[in-house]
Symmetry: C2
Subunit: 169 residues, 2 copies
């Protein structure tokens, strides 16, 4: 069963550092049908329920042009997740793997990314399919899916860098 926050056999935590390095702001909130973490899907699906991404002012001023894209990358903050787990046991079977080898919501920086289908825009809200998160999840960012996006900026020197130049190591 999906857990709330209890530790399982073979899992390991580390002491949480006594510092922070940068701050995020919540620029909106995500409305989904799921009000318990025990019900959330493990991954979003393209034919999943319609969800609503509400963008707060003044950040709704950054929406113009988003309807040019059918696939949007959504970043959100998993506000109910513990952050100190380095080894996790998703199957709760006595074995564990590193957090970075999982897409678990429990991570040092609990930032999730999903690719969603944009179904419509209603004022400052987006209607989408493909999410997997709790109702009321805080929104961090929206951007066109990398595969659909062509840069508008002029080319840079680095665009053509390939192979193995010195990497400073």
């Amino acid at each position: 069963m999906t857990r709330e926050n209890a530790l399982r056999a073979a899992e390991r935590t580390v002491p949480w550092p006594d510092r922070t390095d940068a701050a995020v702001i919540f620029i909106g909130r995500i409305r989904t049908p799921w009000t318990s973490r025990l019900d959330c899907p493990r991954q979003g699906r393209k034919d999943g329920p319609l969800c609503r991404i509400e963008v707060f002012a003044p950040w709704d001023e950054a929406l113009p042009g988003i309807d040019l894209y059918q696939e949007i990358e959504v970043l959100y903050w998993l506000h109910r997740s513990r952050r100190d787990l380095v080894l996790q046991s998703p199957a709760d079977n006595g074995t564990a793997r590193g957090t970075f080898s999982l897409r678990s919501p429990l991570r040092p920086n609990p930032i999730a990314t999903s690719i969603v289908s944009l179904v419509g825009v209603e004022g400052s809200a987006l209607l989408v399919r493909g999410l997997d998160c709790l109702d009321e999840t805080p929104l961090l960012d929206l951007k066109p899916d990398r595969c659909a996006f062509t840069p508008l900026a002029p080319p840079t020197k680095g665009d053509s860098d390939v192979g193995d130049p010195a990497t400073g190591t």
Copy 2:
């Protein structure tokens, strides 16, 4: 030409809010060949230069299992980006689009995501191709690419949710 931080014609900023909502920690740093933003590629490429992702202790304890995946999603903090732009003009041609319709590094939460090819693991460092960021960029997260990852956790009720249940709206 790629800009540093100057504002362009048709661009718009909003006042930066007098609050923060959550804090991130930097769990490592990324070493790349690019030391100026003017040289960074606009997007990473799979045949791009070898880059090195150094994971700081104690977060290196979360690496076991990452070598099971060839494609890794990397999240990083664009520490040199202004955050208050809502309309941007990447081509600097007098027209602008909303920040959320661009993959520009200038965003209210300057979090970038890239999909990289994992070339090797050296202790607590990953050798990868596909990045586009400045040398010394702070690392936020690593996770298997969504397409390669199959959840290990048991199924949930939400896994099978499709269609249009009430979304609370």
